[in-house]
């Protein structure tokens, strides 16, 4: 009996002794944004008992991957709502995966949207368009949730901008999102160019001009922009906005400014 009590005491010491370390680890996990959603009753109903057990055993990502594959099966069978529910659960399990948010929104706005519009069961063309727009809106909300979960990466801002651009045909909102994506230093250079172009498209010519100029005055040796395109756009805006020759980046006199080093 004494041995058992000693053993329990040792285990209590282990638990108590590691408590500060455990708290530090949890603190660092929070700081590093580790982990995913906790298992809820609603989630358990969608994923089934077997997968819920796997989830409880710490195999969150494997379950998410299998659900994602199951989502593809729903897609092939044109079971859009099941696929949608699946995407919701997958992103709940791995809210930090850009891949799931990006591909999920793309499925909704492009694949499912198109399938709904061209569905032969639609009575009228307008009905098809209406059904397609519902999926555009779902994709938009999905991406917004993705951004809430991953605000520190450029990818989803850009995808939302692309959605506004291609499906909502709204250059103002697209420009806003492209602008947010372009703030990140690791964003591809075309994101900044698309931002400037969309600003011009929605009538904000002076903002667009400033935007192009800010690109032009970057270090041409370090930033791999397509400088000929930037020059072309600046020249075009300078002509369109009738900028005074003295204030132009590219004056009409045959004097080409040296690109900054």
């Amino acid at each position: 009996m004494r041995a058992i009590l000693t053993a329990i005491l040792v285990l209590l010491l282990a638990a108590g002794g590691t408590l500060p370390l455990q708290e530090r680890i949890q603190g660092q996990r929070l700081q590093l944004k580790y982990g995913g959603a906790h298992v809820t009753r609603a989630m358990r109903d969608v994923i089934g008992q077997g997968m819920a057990i796997g989830l409880l055993a710490g195999f969150r990502s494997v379950i998410a991957d299998f659900l994602w594959i199951r989502g593809h099966v729903h897609w092939e069978k044109k079971e859009w709502l099941q696929q949608y529910n699946n995407m919701q659960v997958v992103t709940m399990l791995q809210p930090q995966s850009i891949l799931f948010w990006d591909s999920g929104a793309w499925h909704m706005a492009w694949n499912i949207g198109y399938a709904e519009r061209t569905d032969t069961n639609n009575d009228t063309i307008a009905q098809g368009i209406k059904r397609e727009r519902i999926w555009h809106e779902r994709a938009r909300q999905f991406l917004m949730r993705g951004i809430e979960n991953i605000p520190n990466r450029w990818d989803l801002y850009f995808k939302l901008g692309w959605l506004y651009d291609q499906k909502f045909k709204d250059p103002t909102l697209a420009a806003e999102q492209y602008g947010l994506a372009a703030r990140f230093s690791d964003a591809p250079t075309y994101v900044a160019r698309m931002h400037c172009r969309k600003l011009a498209e929605c009538g904000k010519l002076s903002e667009s001009y400033e935007c192009w100029k800010s690109i032009w005055f970057q270090d041409h040796g370090k930033v791999p922009h397509l400088w000929n395109i930037v020059e072309r756009e600046i020249r075009h805006l300078e002509n369109e906005m009738n900028i005074l020759d003295s204030q132009r980046v590219f004056p009409q006199q045959p004097r080409k400014p040296e690109p900054p080093r």
Partner: protein, 301 residues
Amino acid sequence: MTDARHEWVGFSPRRVWMIAVNTLTESVRQKVYLILILFALVLISSASFFSQFGFGEMGGQESLEQLKFIKDFCLGAISVFGMLIAIVGTAQLIPNELENRTIYTILSKPVRRVEFLLGKYAGSALLMLVSVVMMSLMFGAALKFKGDNHLKMARQEVSRAPDANAAEDAMRQLQKIHAAVYDPDVVKALVLVFVKLALLAAITLLVSTFSTSMVFNVAVALLIFFAGHLVGPAKEKWRENSGAQFVLTLIPDLSVFNVADDMILGHAIPWLYVAKVAMYGTVYIVCVIAASHFIFADREI
């Protein structure tokens, strides 16, 4: 029955090592182990084929999806099979010795119970190490095999790009695929998987010091494994309940060892974090082995 305090007099690391090597040799020869490791290796090597279900063409975003699946699947398989090997392999160590009556011969020689226990645990830990290394090598081979195909396709995409924007995109994709295939953080995730399995083996050994049934040992160890993964959420849920908090404190939080998911998603895994978690695991292992020693030293054999 012996006094646990006198057990350390004349302690011999050599005897511990001999028992460890013997335990490892015996475990490797077990059919259960061979079947488990074979299944694990087959499953891991087939991950690249599974990944093709529903993941489109190679070269684009689908490449990253497929590589993510391989990493998730393989690390999951290493964790599951490692857990099974740790529990089943350790649960039978003491009951088998008792059933075959070999323990009486061993302990009647100048072998202390603490040496016997440490030797058994060290053998089990070595078994874990061998298993994790074998499965990791297979995982590396599967990832490289698939990854090289994706890299080849991505390079072709770069050379075929119709304009500069597409070329920039393709180049980025190539870099992402390269980073996914040759990710050094995989090693950190595997180190923590090993520490988790070593802790699980220690807990199973503790259970087997007071139980004679292997089934009971396996069942209890499995329950602790599941409970260990639920400690984090449970602590959060019952923050106000001090009784529940106390009980939860006794169970090691196994979820802190799971960094594979976060590593695959591209989160950095600092060495400091790995060191802290490894230290947490090691402290627990030492205490669990000490508790096992106190119980085993007092056991009627």
